[in-house]
Subunit: 267 residues, 2 copies
DNA sequence: GTTTGTCGGTTCATTATTTGAACCATCGTT
DNA sequence: AACGATGGTTCAAATAATGAACCGACAAAC
């Protein structure tokens, strides 16, 4: 591990509970020599990644990160992070892949990519996806907050004969997506479409959208479902990472072995 | 200069024109050995501060900065950056210091601090400051965009007999603040109050607010004006820096020698 | 179709920086 | 006044950073 990496490690110890950290505290936290820790702190401070509180002498994340985050937003907006992943998802599954952004209680389609494998495939039209009737919707409901669920329950339009329209049915579905880590809608929004979705998270740790694969329902088999799920985990992990977020532990656990590839592909 | 600082330097070479940089380009840019540059790039990549484009192989700012920026916002919101500076500004000038945030075409008071030196002092009441009648307003108008100026011109309420109410008068004032780097309003908003303001900038390089000193007009002398300006430059620089912004070159030049202290106090 | 220039990346002996045990100064408690 | 915190400093020893030369791949030039 290079010295720069060692120094950067300091940055990972800040959190809500620990917004400021002093020299001795760092020294204990990292079990590294105090002098070393001190020089690392000063180096990070000199480049603006850290700053020291004038009175308490403790260190906190510095202003430079704001500038860098701005630069990141310019060069790599969320849409770009998604577009780098969808083609592979579509290619590997042979079905239509799409991603949506959760913004202001709505689920907006960000991008989609159709596989060229089959001549009949699902074509995405809608910009706004219903929360109660799609796999993507289930996923943000399951991992989002209560208010959102109440809102969604209040407007459960019926789209097909399979659409989930009762609160109880929805609760069962959400319980399932929370347990498995996938949102599933079998012809719930459009007839003949079987959708499977995985959640995306942003830097603040909240659900920020979803990736999904929309299949021609008649083509679904246990094998296809398995590859879709595996690819979804990989795609969700990569997009989430690109957005500066992390997959919650509970979800990683739910995904279990499916997540192995994605997790090890960090470098 | 430590190795971590050297590595971090790479991060400062990204900009709008240069959102992605390759190994060789960095090597030329920094005039450092290619192998060294390469290892620095990899180190930064490993900690997520950089990421490499899969096809072009060039490097760009990584997702980790989003997480860090989020952490920064939590521990050091804009108001906190201001509050760390206002007391000193008030103490050094002996007058009332205040700062405002420019948000949604409005100038909102963020915080204020009264000096205890004099028994008669300016007391801040208003949450929203008029753009045409205050030093703070002039400063955001002068360094803001045209639309804002048009908006301000369309509603120039008269507050006192000294309020600027004609478009021509305002243009002259703004020209002056652009030249000097200070917004001035002598009894333009409230009788007996002489205000001097300096602009604040955010990470995107735009005016994001202002710091100002509101004096009892009768107390103003050339000496006081001089110290106020000097302290304002220092305060504006510090707050801007805390917000992840930088003072534009043109403005640094306008402030001239006044800015020396602030600029050298970087470490 | 060989030459030349570029690119990203690698090697390894030399060199310079990082490292850590011990040490200081200062503060608030006991 | 002694104690145990804190942030910060010193210097010889150890380790990690460095850079000249090298590699393979690709693209344009001759």
């Amino acid at each position: 591990m290079s010295t720069v990496e060692k120094a950067m490690e300091l940055l990972n110890h800040f959190s809500l509970d620990r917004p400021e950290i002093g020299l001795s505290e760092f020294h204990r936290l990292l079990k590294r020599d105090k002098a070393t820790t001190f020089r690392h702190l000063k180096a990070l401070q000199n480049v603006g990644l850290l700053e020291q509180d004038e009175e308490t002498q403790r260190y906190r994340i510095g202003p430079a990160v704001l500038r860098l985050a701005h630069q990141r937003e310019i060069t790599m907006p969320r849409r770009a992070g998604v577009r780098a992943v969808l083609p592979q998802l579509a290619a590997a599954t042979g079905e239509t892949a799409h991603a949506s952004l959760f913004e202001g209680a709505q689920l907006l389609t960000l991008a989609h990519h159709e596989a060229s494998l089959h001549s009949n495939r699902v074509v995405m039209n809608d910009a706004i996806l219903p929360l109660h009737a799609t796999g993507s919707g289930h996923v943000v409901l399951a991992f989002g907050d209560d208010n959102l669920r109440k809102l969604a329950i209040s407007k459960m339009t019926r789209f097909t004969e399979h659409t989930v329209v009762s609160e109880e049915q929805l609760a069962i579905q959400l319980e399932s997506t929370r347990r498995t880590g996938f949102g599933v809608s079998i012809e719930g929004y459009e007839s003949g479409v079987h959708g499977i979705a995985a959640p995306l998270f942003d830097h603040s740790g909240k659900v920020a959208g979803s990736v999904a694969v929309a299949c021609v329902a008649s083509r679904m088999t246990p094998e296809l479902e398995s590859t879709i799920k595996q690819e979804l985990v990989s795609a969700a992990t990569r997009i989430t990472r690109s957005w500066g977020g992390t997959i919650p532990d509970a979800l990683e656990h739910a995904w279990g072995d499916l997540g192995k590839d994605a997790r090890s592909s960090r470098n």
